[in-house]
């Protein structure tokens, strides 16, 4: 394989009203113009690791953006950023994905494709109410630790055996964020392979109080910004 391609191709194309840029090399990539995303380096493979899948039996998929392929349940080579405020001069960034149940129900299990890169190995996963189109108060939060560094195909899962009541037609958010113990954490939320035709809505909270620039990502400072992306993040809300 050839190496050392240094020339950058640029492309500006309108795709669903979203401008994109292509950088050349051995991998060419189209990136969403808004939001904080990052790409993964090669060589971080691991054997497929679909934990807790047997526990999914009998549960209803209230929302599910994982693919059906065990060796590729999500796209692991690009991620939405989830960083603490002290990570390498970058702004603090949290990422959230919305869903709207079609029927009243109760969420008993959440699954996300969270991948750790650097710093304290942990994140906060929460199920939040909606607050005028962005994540609001948390209904429940869980601490995630020992996140995988491998690219594919581990899935982090948390449970609430009693079930968190959800109302049909109401918008909720699954949120990956950091807490005070994860100030130096750099992690990512891998992308969903589904919905590539129309893209997906997502939201990111950004704060550049400790470094970086939220505006460089098209994000508000110290606030959530909802936007339409070429791609969504991989998650599932299961229940009864």
């Amino acid at each position: 394989m050839q190496k050392g391609r240094a020339v950058a191709l640029t492309l500006v194309a309108l795709i669903a009203a979203t401008a994109v840029a292509v950088a050349a090399g051995d991998v060419q990539r189209v990136t969403n113009k808004q939001g904080a995303f990052k790409t993964a380096a090669s060589g971080r493979h691991a054997a497929p690791l679909p934990p807790n899948t047997t526990d999914d039996d009998g549960l209803i998929a209230i929302a599910d953006s994982f693919s059906e392929y065990a060796k590729s349940p999500y796209w692991a080579w690009s991620e939405a950023s989830v960083n603490g405020p002290s990570y390498s001069g970058q702004p603090e960034v949290w990422t959230a994905a919305p869903f709207t149940p079609r029927a009243d129900g109760a969420a008993t299990k959440l699954e996300v494709a969270a991948i750790w890169s650097y710093g304290p190995n942990g994140l906060v996963l929460s199920l939040d109410k909606d607050a005028r189109g962005v994540p609001g108060s948390a209904i429940k939060a869980w601490k995630l630790t020992n996140l995988p560094q491998s690219l594919c195909c581990a899935v982090e899962a948390v449970e609430d055996k009693a079930g968190l009541r959800l109302r049909a037609g109401a918008k909720y958010w699954v949120v990956l964020s950091t807490d005070a113990s994860e100030a130096g954490t750099s992690a990512g939320w891998a992308l969903s392979e589904l919905g590539q035709i129309h893209g997906a809505t997502m939201a990111q909270y950004c704060s550049d109080d400790h470094g970086g620039s939220c505006t460089s990502y098209g994000l508000k400072n110290d606030a959530w910004t909802a936007f339409h992306s070429l791609y969504g993040v991989a998650f599932a809300v299961l229940g009864k």
């Binding site: 050392g4 191709l9 090669s42 679909p50 065990a70 699954e111």
Partner: protein, 219 residues
């Protein structure tokens, strides 16, 4: 979530490969709508769902020599070995146009000591979708069908010709298997940093995901 393995490598047989005339196939609408039920998947990695037949936003470059200043001509190939004898009648790839002349050459090649060799069938692709849009599959129908032998290595190749000097395109990655590594090759005539001609490599050294393609046919 429910998990399953992608349907890979199935049928195949028939004698030696000959040089067959090939009729260019019109690019399929998104996604392809041909009568796939009559075909078997000889090899392939395309996903079954409409909104993600492949990962539309990343791939490997396929460029003509004048696509970008200082950017070498670059072709790509993916290797496969049928598990049984088959006749190939359809080749599918997930490619997108970045800039330049709207066209690519899709071919089915013999193996030549571990790299793509002589083309068995060649098809001209036109009206390529824009790179970054999902999920048109370029479908080439082989007029007579190409016999493939079990256990023999072949290559699906995407390249440019003399009318596509400025073509800059991307062969996208599959989104059904990011775990296993597959044999691919990159062609560069010169000034590529690691020699000229075809250079084989394992897919996981580039992206972790094989180029998106399928070879269909009959048993």
């Amino acid at each position: 979530m429910n998990w399953k393995a992608p349907a890979l490598l199935m049928a195949v047989v028939l004698g030696a490969c000959g040089g067959h005339a090939v009729t260019p196939a019109a690019p399929a609408a998104a996604p392809a709508t041909f009568a796939r039920t009559k075909l078997v998947t000889i090899v392939g990695n395309l996903a079954s769902y409409r909104s993600g037949r492949y990962w539309a936003f990343e791939g490997s470059p396929v460029t003509g020599p004048d696509a970008e200043e200082g950017f070498p001509e670059n072709w790509r190939a993916v290797a496969f070995s049928p598990s049984a004898n088959h006749t190939a009648t359809v080749i599918q790839v997930g490619v997108g146009l970045v800039s330049g002349t709207d066209g690519l050459v899709l071919s089915l090649n013999r193996d030549d000591k571990g790299i793509p060799g002589k083309a068995i069938a060649t098809v001209q692709l036109r009206n390529l979708p824009a790179f970054g849009t999902c999920c048109t599959i370029e479908t080439a129908t082989l007029a007579k069908g190409v016999p493939l032998k079990a256990g023999t290595q072949y290559w699906v190749v995407v390249s440019t010709n003399t009318s596509e000097l400025t073509t800059s395109a991307t062969w996208t990655f599959n989104d059904t298997d990011q775990v296993d590594s597959f044999l691919e090759a990159s062609y560069c005539p010169s000034n590529c940093g690691s020699g000229s001609g075809w250079t084989p490599y394992q897919s996981d050294t580039v992206s972790g995901s094989e180029l998106a393609y399928a070879v269909l046919g009959s048993n």
